[in-house]
């Protein structure tokens, strides 16, 4: 029952993080890097919850991260007559759904270290949320770059590096805060009746 409540709380937290993220201003001193809250909740959940619960979080995180920023590119327009115009074609720059597979893969890695996390290796969720955030942004950047490959060739700059690395570092710090809050909450609710952990 406790697991169901934790999963539900994380499902709500992931949803709300998508509603909150747009209101957090980019960090000017980190070349406009953004703060991502969703990977914090996802990695924490994937490291402490059983496999089926992780799948629910992966599905939700994947759907929301792809469809909340679906980038449509219009290619051409055609005039039907002098007053009516119609778009000929448009495409999605990054195929929606890839994030589901991405979070499933990273969630599975988190499941691999779950026994260690439950034994008290508190730093593992932080490390994995940093890796998840950075890899997700890096893959997005690579896909866009391949899509928009021009005569200028591959595009890379210090700003790109900052925008990939800084959100990862921030996510890891936030995960540590979440782990501390979760540990305090667990201690509060299980005073005098600490059950044996099931791996």
């Amino acid at each position: 029952m406790k697991l169901v409540w934790i999963t539900l709380a994380l499902v709500v937290a992931i949803f709300l993080s998508f509603a909150i993220e747009p209101f957090i201003s980019p960090i000017a001193s980190a070349e406009g890097a953004r703060v991502y809250l969703m990977p914090v909740f996802f990695c924490f959940g994937a490291c402490v919850l059983p496999f089926p619960c992780m799948l629910i979080l992966a599905l939700e995180a994947g759907i929301l991260s792809d469809f909340s920023i679906l980038h449509i590119v219009h290619h051409a327009t055609e005039a039907i007559d002098s007053d009516t115009l119609q778009t000929i074609s448009s495409s999605v720059e990054i195929p929606s759904g890839w994030s589901i597979l991405f979070y499933l893969a990273f969630g599975s890695i988190c499941q691999g270290v779950r026994p260690l996390v439950l034994r008290g290796h508190w730093w593992l969720p932080a490390l994995l949320s940093a890796l998840t955030t950075m890899t997700h942004l890096a893959i997005q950047f690579v896909i866009i770059t391949m899509h928009r490959f021009t005569q200028d060739g591959l595009f890379w700059s210090e700003t790109v590096a900052w925008r990939i690395v800084a959100p990862g570092l921030i996510a890891s710090l936030l995960t540590l805060v979440l782990v501390v809050i979760a540990t305090i909450a667990e201690n509060l609710f299980t005073v005098g009746r600490r059950p044996e952990r099931d791996f």
Partner: protein
Amino acid sequence: MRKVNIILASVVVLFGIAFMLLGTNTAQKVQRSIMGMMSPFLRTGSAVQQGLGAVGKGLKSLDELEEDNKRLTKENMELRAANEMLRNTQDENNRLREALDYRTRSLFRLIPTEVLTRDASTWWNSVVINRGFEDGVDDGTQGGVPMTVISDQGLVGKIMTASKNDSAVMLITDETCKVGAYVEGTREKGIVSGIRVQEGGKPELHMSFLSKHADLKPGQKVYTEGVGAVFPAGLLIGTVKSFKSRELDGEAIIEPAVDFSTMSDLFVISGAK
């Protein structure tokens, strides 16, 4: 790994693959539903943000309010008069264009809107506005072209996806938003687009396919040309900042007319008057 876990993981993988195979229109439908679910939260967040931003700013004395009211009434009268004059000039211009067998230009019908959230992603430049298809906003899936979004300063972008009550707007600072444009007082025409990753400070635009030896000076205004059917002609994009000659063509750096970091009141061009 337990058998049930493998089956569940396979179902999730199938979901992922199914979503990847969705066509653009279907993907937009899913996005509309998600934007619909997010809408109340975004509106609440936006209201809270505006409320917090207004703390200490909105307190004015009665004298100051009266002063503001007088100034705004006078400005309103001046603008009405100027608008009427422009309307007459527009009619005259259209009559002359008609005589010369040119296509007539119309005044725009505008849908006023406000920015709900801005730039939620790292690699794309977009904002969400508080008007959707129920208010007449079209993203090009209703048989037309994506509608243009402007502010009182100039061109902002075009509608990317319109949900019931909100719409995502692709800004002209995005690399995939391309606008046919001309430079004021010259015969120079080119394509204006954003830069993939803007490096700090105010965003800049690139205007490419200009002639190699174009005589452009900083401060010259750049307007939409009206080709490609999405953006109407004559909308201010920005001003020329610099020009460089390349191997095959010329490229100008354009400073956008709109301040994208502070813009809040926008208008969607829903058609001709």
